[in-house]
């Protein structure tokens, strides 16, 4: 198989609720780590960035530790301001003799002539960036000539309206993300563009479908399927394939050039491939900014020299790529972060935990801005869980309040999921096996009295959600989920429609082709013979 989960952290497999997968994987995993250590955890609407972000607070001994994204309170607004400004970052970096691509920042007052005359002092190709651009916005890379530079300046300054820009030498090589905490390199990941790995049997189209199913298993890629668009078709064609080709076993077909996760890219752990020098540069880069204790360092590697240059310092890097790499080993960054901020809790081990908490209602409610802070129910400790099935003609929802009473009395966790009109699944987790058994016996009585049959199926080893809930298709979807779900379905549909259009074109071409037209009489007579033959039978 293409994807491997072997290298993942067992306590995080299937323990990230869907609601946390879109934009909150980093925050959620840190909160989960703290929660599993027995800390009080609450989520709040942050006033940062226009009030759009959600943060969490871990409390230890009455002291609050705030996190927004993966970053704690030590990452101050001043630090963020420096790192958001590429020009300023470079000033700090070059002062500390950290290698960066050669370049210069130009303010609003700088004329195009001034910029062009500077460009003559460095080697082409060049890259032009706004100093305060986010996530690659407004970046024009691979400028090969003065003419192209003029064009790029026009686009970035006039069309996009950026005032302060940075002109740099365009360094080629693998661009990797290195996670540095407190002067230590914890993880490094490279991104691979959208791709499929041949198995010698399946067509490319089917491999993409399979790949998208696999991507759903990666929390950070759950909402990011590979979309089939012109670029993908072109790339496949350029490699001499079609959607129907069957790549050889082990043959990797790249579907895009760019490797953004949102465009179908995937993360690969490359920590072991870094040289000491490269790690050293990453650490020194973070140390160049006073107080930058945790950071996602973007570096372009130089394979020949074993060195690298720093492109960017990210103050709130996502850590999902390090937690769920499709190749290599996951690095337990949430553990390291909580260890760092609250070292008193270092001794508490959470690797065995199979309990996690729901995030959907927390997120939905905070987003509506009616509630500003939500404290999560404390970690219940390790659970012993069982799965059972309830069968019978009666709607199990009609006795839910009775079931709930038993659950409450025994302080159990889990869910009741309505599978069909006559079948439901019940998962119960409790602190002791006896507690679960007792509740099961009582529930057997209750269901029995109502003409339903409860059968204990097996031990339930997968992580259990804390609390208890009734799940059916619509109750599982809040407003935000519905929106996401609709968007998701539309995306899948557009893929299918594109495929439909493509086949239709093929069919049209065939039908218009001379030979198809020429063979019309043959086909017709064949068809007639077939019909006649059938009649004779």
């Amino acid at each position: 198989m293409d994807f491997k989960q072997e290298g993942w952290l067992p306590h995080l497999i299937d323990a990230i609720p869907i609601a946390a997968r879109k934009n909150h994987t980093s925050l959620y995993t840190i909160a989960l780590e703290g929660w599993r250590r027995g800390l009080k955890v609450s989520f709040f609407n942050s006033k940062h960035e226009g009030g759009k972000r959600i943060g969490c607070t871990l409390y230890h001994d009455g002291n609050p530790y705030h996190f927004i994204g993966s970053s704690g309170h030590l990452i101050t607004d001043e630090i963020i301001d420096i790192c958001d400004d590429k020009g300023l970052t470079n000033e700090y970096l070059s002062k500390a003799h950290v290698p960066i691509p050669e370049g210069k920042e130009f303010g609003e007052a700088a004329s195009d002539e001034e910029i062009i005359s500077y460009s003559k002092t460095i080697d082409y190709p060049l890259v032009l960036k706004p100093t305060d651009g986010k996530a690659g916005r407004g970046v024009i890379a691979g400028i090969e000539s003065e003419k192209e530079l003029k064009n790029a300046l026009n686009v970035v300054k006039n069309r996009l309206g950026y005032k302060n820009i940075l002109l740099q030498q365009y360094v080629t090589g693998d661009e990797i993300r290195i996670y540095v905490l407190d002067g230590r390199v914890l993880a490094a990941s490279n991104r691979r563009p959208a791709n499929i790995l041949g198995d010698g049997v399946s067509t490319i189209k089917n491999l993409i479908i399979q790949k998208n199913e696999l991507r759903k298993k990666v929390p950070s890629l759950y909402f990011r399927p590979i979309k089939l668009d012109k670029e993908v078709y072109n790339n496949i064609r350029l490699q001499g394939h079609t959607m129907e080709s069957i790549p050889k076993k082990g043959e990797r077909v790249l579907l895009r050039k760019i490797s953004n996760l949102s465009r179908g890219g995937e993360s690969v752990d490359v920590l072991d491939e870094l040289t000491e020098e490269q790690k050293n540069i990453a650490v020194r880069a973070t140390q160049a900014i006073p107080g930058l204790v945790q950071c996602g360092v973007d570096m372009i590697l130089n394979d020949e020299t074993g060195s690298g240059v720093i492109l960017e310092l990210n103050t709130r890097p996502g850590i999902g790529n390090h937690l769920f790499p499709v190749e290599g080993t996951a690095k337990d960054i949430p553990k390291e972060i909580v260890d760092f901020y609250i070292p008193e809790t270092k001794g508490v081990h959470t690797e065995e935990s199979v309990v996690y908490f729901e995030f959907k209602n927390v997120l939905d409610t905070l987003k509506e801005k009616v509630v500003e802070e939500i404290e999560i129910r404390p970690y219940p400790g390790s659970l012993i869980s069982k799965r059972m099935v309830i069968e019978g003609a009666k709607d199990v929802r009609s006795i839910y309040s009775k079931i709930e009473k038993v659950i409450n009395a025994h302080e159990l966790h889990g869910y009741l999921r309505v599978l069909s009109n006559s079948e439901s699944e019940l998962v119960l987790g409790g602190g002791t096996e006896a507690g679960v058994e007792e509740a099961t016996a009582r529930l057997k009585d209750i269901t029995g009295h109502n003409g339903l049959e409860l059968t204990a199926v097996d031990k339930y080893e997968a992580p259990v959600l804390a609390g208890f809930r009734l799940l059916d298709k619509t109750s599982e979807m809040g407003l935000a989920d519905l929106k996401k779900e609709i968007k998701g379905i539309r995306e899948i549909e557009s893929v299918i429609n594109r495929e439909k259009a493509r086949i239709k074109r093929r069919i049209d071409l065939m039908q218009k082709s001379h030979s198809w037209k020429l063979s019309y009489p043959i086909r017709m007579s064949v068809a007639k013979i077939k019909v006649a033959a059938r009649r004779m039978k």
């Binding site: 409610t365 999560i376 979807m477 609709i486 086949i503």
Partner: protein, 547 residues
């Protein structure tokens, strides 16, 4: 029908409390009062905060436990009862014997009576009763909602029948035999040393109009009750007991009553079985008020709560029936007749006297009760903190938009714009296909500027007209698209259907295509195509070169 007038509190309108039913109503109105004064409001599950130490009941479902917090203190509440009422006081309140002891000590009267447990036989009770003066009352000690209460028992035979009914048929073995006090019964709410509200509970009744039968009068009355936040879940139920009671007055369900003729349907005054709450604050003499306060104060730690008493119709002396530390406030807030008394205000004044003078113009603001409880519902959360609302004034404006206003994308755009400006309010599609938008905020300028945002229309929507009006009704915080969820759900079903049909079409096309590819005719003509393809390519090359 007799003219009845009731005056409710505008800041606790039926709409504001529409999500809070039964016992939840008490919690919501007190919490809302504190929240509107700028106190921090949190909703809890029973394990959170100080609640494990507080006496509470039936609190597996969230919505009855909350805390209010100012800079220097936090108070915890269960329904209408705060933590200034001690657990001991709650225990005494639920135990008649110890209440009586304390009251007698202060010279306050309770009806004479004795409790009998299931060990005592009916005969023994009858023997004991022969030493009491009739009429008497029989009550189950652990009953509720007036169930099994038999009043005005006049002799031994009636008592025997009553015992058989209550202990035998209803299976309440523990009963209380009490002296019957003739007179009006009041529920009086006391906070500290002040009576802040009083009501008289009138047994379920109807008033004739010379036209309708008792049955249809009851139905009509239930219709009215459904509009009353306190009474909506307490309709008059037509049962055997009602019929029996009517028959003692020579009436039937099909009897037509004269205009203005009031007929009682039971003797029991409980609101939950159809009784009417009627404001009686101004009826009370200072003496009665004083007795109520003294009765409450007789119990140590019972700093606020309800006192149920009967004023003897001859001696005018009050007899305390019961003390209720966790009283329903609904009847006092939504009387069928008379004036509502603002008990929540008095309770918050008592707990947070420093906020007493904060005269706010924000009493039209409230929060969605269901929304704030959602994370507590599945036991994910321990407590939720309602968005702080510490403002003296709020500005509102209504906009009516005509044009292409039905699209979901447009509604989403409006919501995001309102949120970006920090405004509260709602958008609601009107039957004439216009969209009504109400925005509210503390910054007047931002509220008015919303018109410019709509006109600027950076989403490029098809808007014809934006009209502006004043708006003085209630504001729920957050921004709601009315019917949004339903719309989305429909939307979801549609896209799912589309997806299914697209999938089917794709399969059909694929099949057609592969049939064509595999058809013998296509295979047969393959050499022709290859040759003609080669010729075409050559031709293209030639023409290209010649250019």
């Amino acid at each position: 029908m007799r003219e009845k007038s009731a005056e409710w509190l505008p800041h606790l309108s039926g709409e504001i409390v529409s999500e809070a039913h039964g016992n939840y109503l008490d919690a919501y109105v007190v919490a809302l009062e504190g929240w509107r004064r700028g106190l921090t409001l949190k909703w809890h599950v029973k394990e959170s905060g100080k609640f494990p130490e507080m006496k509470t009941w039936f609190v597996d479902k969230p919505g009855q436990l909350f805390s209010l917090e100012s800079d220097d203190k936090t108070h915890y509440f269960f329904r209408s009862r705060g933590d200034k009422v001690t657990n001991e006081a709650v225990e005494i309140g639920s135990d008649k014997e110890s209440t009586k002891e304390l009251l007698q000590h202060k010279g306050i009267k309770m009806p004479e009576g004795s409790i009998f447990t299931k060990e005592t036989s009916d005969e023994a009770i009858l023997r004991h009763a022969s030493g009491m003066s009739f009429p008497i009352v029989l009550k189950p000690t652990d009953g509720s909602f007036g169930k099994g209460v038999i009043t005005n028992i006049k002799n031994n035979d009636e008592l025997k029948e009553a015992l058989e009914y209550v202990r035998g048929k209803l299976n309440y073995s523990n009963v209380l035999l009490e002296e019957y006090i003739p007179g009006k019964e009041y529920r009086i709410y006391v906070v500290g040393d002040k009576v802040v509200g009083a009501m008289n509970r009138i047994p379920a009744n109807v008033t004739g109009d010379g036209e309708h039968t008792v049955r249809s009068l009851i139905q009509r009355k239930n219709g009215d009750r459904a509009l009353n936040p306190r009474l909506r879940s307490c309709p008059i139920i037509i049962d055997e007991e009602v019929e029996r009671y009517l028959s003692t007055q020579d009436l039937f369900l099909d009897s037509v009553l004269d205009t203005g003729e009031q007929v009682f349907l039971t003797e029991k005054t409980n609101i939950s079985i159809g009784g009417d709450p009627v404001d009686a604050f101004d009826d009370l003499s200072d003496g009665i008020k004083d007795s109520a306060v003294r009765a409450l104060q007789a119990v140590p730690g019972l700093s606020h709560g309800a006192v149920d008493l009967i004023v003897h119709e001859e001696t005018s002396e009050p007899y305390i029936i019961e003390l209720n530390p966790t009283a329903n406030l609904g009847g006092l807030l939504y009387p069928i007749e008379g004036q509502a008394r603002d008990i929540p205000k008095e309770i918050i004044d008592y707990y947070f006297p420093e906020t007493q003078d904060a005269l706010r113009k924000t009493s039209i603001v409230y929060f969605d009760y269901r929304e704030v409880l959602t994370p507590l519902q599945d036991k994910t959360a321990y407590n939720t903190k309602v968005v702080q609302f510490d403002y003296d004034e709020i500005h509102t404006r209504k906009f009516i938009i005509h044009g292409d206003v039905k699209s979901f994308v447009f509604h989403k755009w409006i919501k995001s714009k309102a949120k970006a400006s920090g405004l509260h309010g709602f958008a609601s599609l009107k039957p004439d296909e216009s969209l009504e938008i109400v925005v509210a905020g503390v910054d007047q300028e931002l509220v008015h500027q919303f018109r410019d945002i709509l006109l600027e229309n950076d989403g490029g929507f098809n808007i014809n007209e934006v009209k502006e009006e004043n708006y003085n009704e209630t504001i729920k915080i957050g921004f709601e698209i009315e019917g949004e969820y339903k719309e989305l759900l429909n939307n979801y079903k549609t896209v799912q259907r589309n997806l299914e049909s697209s999938k089917k079409e794709l399969k059909k096309l694929e099949k057609q295509y592969s049939n064509m590819l595999n058809s013998r005719a296509w295979k047969l003509t393959r050499p022709v195509r290859t040759v003609s393809g080669t010729i075409k390519k050559m031709y293209q090359r030639i023409t290209k070169n010649s250019h």
